[in-house]
Structure formats: C-alpha cells, structure tokens
C-alpha cells in the first residue's frame, strides 16, 4: 500500500487544495509520496519538503512540463502507477482535467470529487449537485481519486521538517497540445476556495458597477468574493468567481449571499459553509431555507448600512 499525491501549484507555491488532499490521504493510513511536476518550481519543492506527512517528494522538473498540460502529465503519472495503490489530486480544474485522462491511459476507474474516505476502497462522493451522496467502491490495483478540498482540513506546513527528495528524469512531451497563454484574473483578496469568509453577489446587483458594493463589503470583512452563475454570465465578474455545481465549491466559516435566489446549482457550491447569511428582497427566495440568518430587504440599502456599521 502506497499513496501518491499529485501536487497542484502555480510554479511559486503549492495550491491549498494540495494540503487538503494530504489530509485526505492520511486517512488511507499508508506511506505517502508527493510528486511536483513543472519547470523551475524550486519554491514549490521547498514547501512540499516541509510537509511532515509525506515520505518522499518526487520532482519532475523539465521544460516539457512548463505548461502543465494533461496530455503529457498523464503519461508521466502513468509511468508511476504500478508503484501506488492510490493516486490523489485535488478536484480543481487541474485535477479534473488530469486524473480522468490518467484513468483513460490506465483503463481503470476513478472516483471524482470525494468528500469522505471510508476505507482503502470505499469513498463517498456527492451526486446530483450534492442532493444525494453515493458510496462507491473501487476494485482497482491503483485507485484514482480527486478530492473535494472544502471537505478536508488543510494540512499545515511545518518548516522544520525536510522530507526526502527524489528527482525524476522521465520526459514526456505534449505533441498535440500547446498552451498559448493564461489569463489569470488578479485580485489581492483571499483565494475563494479556502477563504474563511466569502461574500457573494448575484443577479440582484444588476450591473458591474453595483457589484463594487459586494467587493467593498468583502474588503471590510477580509473576505473572498464569489458570485452566482447569473452574475458571471452577465459579466459582473470573471468566470472563476462562480460558486456552485459547475463552479467552485466553498465551505467557509461565514458565507454571505446577497441578491442570490438560491438555485440548487448555487447551493451545491456553498451549503456546507458553517454559517450562512442571506440578504434578499424576496422573502420566498429559496436561499432562506438554508440560511442561518436571513435578512429580507433591499441590498442597495442594506450593504451601505453594513459598510458603515462594520
């Protein structure tokens, strides 16, 4: 029994989903290795080496891995598969792109977006936008799993440990796919996926200018900004702000949804938050059915009042 975690990073730092995936991997109770694939990712490797739960950090550092494409990353991972009983990756867009491709190469099954580990073969995953939970069993030699980060605590980095390092010189080039560019949406707020407080706005904000109210409130609270699909589609905010079944799943300490009706696809992305606040002028809005604190009223009056009293 041995577990491999595929680290997600941006060549500078480990993404926090990797730390949640490590917590999940600990539940498998077998030795854990972690692989960092990329180019010039020394700082990522340093962070990875401070993860006390990991036995060995494998580093595949080569220019062919610069673009982090599923096409060749999956081939590299496939070359490691026989050494591992489990291969885990965060269920981010990175992991969702990569691990099923690996499953295809190995012709084996994969359990995606798991939220609980029952035993080495048995996992729980949400289906139907989280309105049902499926318990699935994988009977594979190598069990492939993507892990929902919000369902597992983040493993904390421990600066004083120095995990063993192993270089990997296997080179697989992507022959048919190339990265033209990335357009990263920049902001200085906490990362949506692991923020302690999230303030989200919906169609009720009416336009991009008004959405600044949500951002102001988020800044007052040190929160990340989220949005409903309607708000993203209307162009108020970039796509990576979307919370829900087809966007990001978040579970902060405090989620404040404003001008969001609470469609099941939106609830799928936030209903496991610890405390939920809903602000909506429609007393019948479904979001009130899951909110701990509901305030009925006009957001254009309520947000300014909140801003002045916080």
């Amino acid at each position: 029994m041995r577990t491999l975690i595929v680290a997600e990073h941006d060549h500078q730092h480990l993404k926090s989903g990797t730390l949640s995936t490590l917590t999940a991997a600990m539940a498998l109770k077998s030795p854990i290795d972690l692989i960092v694939i990329g180019q010039h990712c020394h700082s990522v490797v340093q962070e990875a080496r401070s993860l006390a739960g990991v036995q060995c950090v494998i580093v595949a550092d080569h220019e062919v891995y610069q673009s982090l494409l599923a096409e060749n990353l999956a081939k590299l991972l496939a070359s490691f598969a026989q050494d591992y009983t489990h291969i885990l990756c965060p269920a981010s867009t990175f992991g969702k792109d990569l691990l099923p491709r690996l499953a295809g190469l190995l012709e084996c099954s994969l359990a995606s977006d798991i939220i609980e580990i029952i035993d080495q073969d048995t996992f729980i995953r949400p289906i139907y936008a989280g309105n049902a939970l499926a318990t699935v069993r994988l009977k594979e030699n190598t069990r492939l799993l993507t892990v929902r980060s919000s369902a597992f605590a983040k493993y904390t980095l421990q600066a004083e440990t120095l995990v063993e390092l192993r270089a990997c010189d296997r080179v697989y080039a992507a022959e048919k796919t190339s990265l033209i560019r990335r357009e990263e949406s920049q902001n200085d707020r906490p990362e949506l996926a692991n923020a302690k407080v999230v303030v989200s706005g919906g169609r009720g904000l009416q336009n991009k200018e008004n959405f600044a109210l949500i951002e102001a409130l988020a800044d007052k609270l040190g929160a990340a900004v989220g949005a409903s699909r309607a708000a993203v589609d209307a162009g108020f905010v970039p796509n990576d702000y979307q919370v829900g079944q087809t966007g990001k799943v978040v579970a902060p300490n405090l989620y404040i949804g404003i001008g969001i009706s609470g469609a099941i696809q939106h609830l799928a992305g936030m209903k496991d938050s610890r405390v939920i606040v809903a602000i909506n002028k429609d007393p019948e809005a479904p979001i009130f059915q899951i909110a701990d604190y509901g305030l009925v009223g006009d957001l254009f009056k309520i947000i300014p009042e909140l801003l002045s009293k916080l």
């Binding site: 499926a134 992507a174 099941i264």
Partner: protein, 250 residues
C-alpha cells in the same frame, strides 16, 4: 470537417430529486428528463460550426434506453444531421461509456468530438478526458470558446485561476462549459423536418466493447438536511448575531 457529439439523457436540472429510501439510488419514475445542459451546448456549437461552413456533417450519439430517441430527435430538430443510438437499459460506468464512444468514433472518424464537461446527474466530469486518452487525442476541457483554424483548434478554457488558451491538433476532444454559447430553441418546422432525418441504432454487441469496470455504487443516501435558521429584522440585529451568537466576525 466532421463533428460528433455525445448526449446523455438526465433528470431535468430544475427537478428536485428524491433519494429512494432503500439506498438503491434516485427516483427516476415519472420524473421529467432532459438533455444534459452541457450537451445542449455541444449541440449548439456543432450546429454553429455547420452554419459557418466549417463542419460538413454533424452527428449526435447517445448510449441509453429507447426513450433517448426523444432527445436525439430534439438534437436533430436543432440542426444536427444524423443521430446514433446505442440501446442500453442499464447504467454503464464512465470507462465503459468512453469505450463505446471510442468504438463509434473509430467507425465514424470525426475530426472533432464534443462532450459536455459533466453530466449533471452523477457529476463525474470524466468521460471526455478518458475518451481522449483512449484515443490518444488531445483534450480541451471546460471550453468557453472554440475556434477552428485549419487542422487545429484554439480553445479558451475556464480554469480555477481565470482562463487558459490552448491550441490542439485535430482530431481532438473538447468538453463544453456553460459559457461556450447559448443554445437556441427548436422551431416547429424544424421539429417536423427532424422526423425525416436518420436515427440509426448500433448495438453494443456489434461494437464488441468491454463494459465491465471496477467501480461499484454501494448505496445512495440523502445528505444531512441543513436546518433553516432565523430571520433577523435589521442590520443591527444581523451584526449582533454574527458577533455574539455565531462569533464569525469581530
């Protein structure tokens, strides 16, 4: 160029599902069924490629019960040229669906294959990627823009950090995200015309693929219900509760 897309029939996204008490799954009897919303987007994209003169032929394929005919006819009414149904009463695991799609693709030889990024019933988000690996084709998942440029495509992908633009050589697999396009509605004349379009059956036996996979659903249960909280009457009361009861803000 020939474009093939895969379609799944699912419980309509706006239906509130019911988990069966015996843990065997979700109630499907007398429940409204629809085309998986991401596959509607794939249909629209294929039709647009045809309208732009980029696609010569468009095909839709589905693996599922006879009732899927209804959804395939809808795809034809929306402008797809031909439909293929692989009749199958049982639900197949992702790997098996991908194998069936691969077998169809080896026969039909499309240049571009479109799938939804995820089926909204099992929320797997796997089949396009598995299929691309089985074929050793490039994959562009979560597409919000697709441009055909000679023998390659340029795809904008919606990823966690923003957008990513990839170039891939055809043939390739693309999975659709919600913002790729806005699907049209079928017009009445087109619904009538669709009745004349070819809908062919291909049996699983003919395709001869291995359908077993080493994944098994042991049970399906309802999640813990979140109990509704309280209504507050003012901003002051809200802040007081958040500070002193929930203790989530300073």
């Amino acid at each position: 160029m020939k474009v093939l897309l895969a379609l799944k029939r699912v419980i309509d996204p706006y239906v509130k599902i019911r988990v069966r008490a015996d843990g065997s799954g979700v109630e499907t009897a007398n429940v409204k069924m629809s085309i998986n919303p991401f596959d509607e987007i794939a249909i629209e994209e294929a039709v647009r490629l045809k309208e732009q003169g980029l696609a010569r032929l468009t095909q839709v394929v589905s693996i599922g019960p006879e009732a899927v005919q209804e959804n395939l006819r809808t795809a034809l009414a929306l402008g797809i040229d031909e439909a293929l149904l692989v009749p199958c009463e049982q639900t197949l695991p992702a790997l098996a669906i991908a194998r069936v799609l691969k077998a169809i693709i080896l026969i039909e030889k499309p240049d571009l294959v479109l799938l939804g990024k995820q089926a909204i019933d099992d929320d797997n988000n796997q089949i396009g990627q598995i299929l691309a690996a089985l074929l050793d084709w490039p994959q562009c998942t979560f597409a919000s823009q697709l441009k055909v440029q000679g023998d390659s495509i340029e795809v904008t992908r919606e990823v966690d950090g923003g957008l990513e633009i990839l170039s891939a050589k055809l043939p390739a697999v693309v999975t659709t995200d919600l913002r790729l396009n806005t699907p049209r509605y079928a017009s009445l004349p087109n619904i009538m015309k669709a009745k004349q379009k070819p809908l062919t059956r291909v049996s699983l036996e003919e395709l001869g693929v291995c359908l077993t996979a080493n994944i098994e659903t042991l049970s399906v249960s309802a999640p813990k219900e979140r109990k509704a909280g309280i209504r507050v009457d003012s901003v002051d009361e809200l802040l007081d509760k958040l500070r002193h009861e929930a203790k989530v803000i300073e």
